[in-house]
Amino acid sequence: MNPEHLKYTKEHEWIGEMDGVHAVGITTHAQEQLGDITFVELPVVDTEVKAGTPVVTIESVKAASDVYAPAAGTVCAVNDDLEGQPELVNQSPYEDGWLFKLEGVDASELDKLMDAAAYKAYLKELDDA
């Protein structure tokens, strides 16, 4: 299940408010597609990003793929636990497996993203295609 309080992108990232800033991760669907995750390359704190900027590289046993910033902001924290336990992204994509946090996100920018219901419909569309 994709949590109700998060917003979703077509590239299968999620973004949601956490402790006054916005945390970003990948969805259950994304981690299933990637398979066992073996390495997560995180951004440097204080990096400014625009919506759509590749920020994280996730490597799995199958391939390497980029994670894009769902919104503009400044990276204010990264999930250091992933260095030793990249599998947290597989095991807990919406909680322990978060990737980085952004500050200075314009909340109105998030309105352009999908809510949980729209993302669910989008996944179904992909599945039927």
């Binding site: 398979g35 066992d36 073996t38 390495f39 390359e41 590289t57 490597e59 046993v61 199958k62 391939a63 390497a64 990249p86």
Partner: protein, 355 residues
């Protein structure tokens, strides 16, 4: 998509199916990492029924076959096998093949699915003694340190005696099976060539053992890469010669094979690229298609790469220019200049294949 005789039995077990060279094949069951580790420590069974098999019978057919492969077939003893290549007139690799002599006057040849049609037309044309048995044959690989124990307990007494790269026709539940102590994982293991009709009962009998789990093509790929086995169609094809693909130990220069003169010249001239082992220091992995650089100079290309689950870092195979083929060169790979180093194979050194 074509289906193997084990398709339904595998679907029941809940695997993810992909199209592999036109065949519906399981890519993973519980996850590639878990299947990988299970194979290195216990026993995994792999459905490899999509692969191609040929029987070559009679002296004339055997001699004709011997002129198509880089191996010396005349000195291959009954019950033993050799790894080698079928080559084009230009010296390129059509496919890598295992040739077993299963009796004084019979060979059994195993080839890859990607080139199965080409090889079938080449081999069946050389002699009426050659028969393509792919469609009637299922192949189950039983791989892992406990594979000998499992097969012995199932009544395969020969499993206890067979040495590495040896083979024997055996009977099991009334079926004639070819048992070969070969594999693609680096672990103690066997390949069983069985009639389609016997495949499901053998598969299920194997899975009854606590040590045995099914594994898919994903784990097969990480396992083979960690021991440096090249993959036909990915690490070489007709555009690469056996010398370039690092297959020189499997060329019998005193026998005839297509493209021999060209390869002799390449060997004398040197200066060709060679498939070389590369690794990273961390979990980042080189990937197929990454260009390899020494500073600004392009010196090669990665053909296979990924995370090595048992070694804990990235591993790969790359065609590198002369001067970079020995261990110890520090290079970069890919658009983001991943640091890599040339090393000696295998990456994973604790394999039990020869135990």
């Amino acid at each position: 998509m074509r289906k193997t005789p084990l398709y339904e039995a595998q679907q029941t077990l809940g695997c993810k199916i992909v199209d592999f060279q036109g065949w519906a094949m399981p890519v993973q069951y519980d996850g590639i990492l878990e299947e990988h580790h299970h194979t290195r420590t216990r026993v995994s069974v792999f459905d490899c029924s999509h692969m191609a098999e040929f029987r070559v019978e009679g002296e004339e057919a055997i001699q004709a076959y011997g002129r198509l492969v880089t191996n010396d077939i005349s000195s291959l003893l009954a019950g033993r096998a050799r790894y080698g290549a079928l080559t084009t007139a230009e010296g390129g690799i059509i496919d890598d093949v295992i040739t077993m002599r299963t009796a004084e006057d019979a060979l059994y040849v195993v080839a890859n699915v990607s080139t199965a049609e080409t090889i079938s037309s080449i081999l069946t044309a050389i002699s009426p003694g050659v028969r393509d048995v792919s469609d009637e044959t299922a192949k189950i690989d039983v791989q892992g340190p406990e594979s000998r124990d499992v097969l012995t307990r199932m009544g395969f007494a020969a499993a206890g005696e067979l040495r590495y790269f040896h083979n024997k026709w055996v009977t099991w539940e009334g079926w004639n099976l070819l048992l070969s102590r070969t594999g693609y994982t680096g672990e103690l293991g066997y390949e069983l060539f069985v009639p389609n009709e016997a495949a499901v009962s053998l598969w299920q009998a194997l899975l009854e053992h606590e040590a045995v789990k099914p594994a898919g093509l994903g784990a097969r790929d990480t396992l083979r890469l960690e021991v440096g086995y090249p993959l036909s169609g990915q690490d070489f094809d007709k555009s690469r010669t056996p010398l370039e693909a690092n297959m020189h130990p499997f060329i019998a220069w005193d026998t005839e094979f297509p493209g021999k003169a060209i390869l002799e010249k390449q060997k004398a001239d040197g200066g060709h690229q060679r498939l070389t082992a590369i690794e990273t220091e961390d979990r980042r992995a080189p990937r197929s298609g990454f260009e390899v650089f020494d500073g600004d100079q392009k010196v090669g290309v990665v053909t296979s790469g990924g995370y090595g689950p048992s070694v804990g870092h990235g591993v790969g195979l790359a065609y590198l220019d002369p001067g970079y083929q020995e261990p110890g060169h520090d290079l970069t790979a890919g658009p983001r200049q991943l640091s890599i180093k040339t090393v000696q194979l295998p990456f994973y050194k604790k394999g039990t294949a020869r135990k």
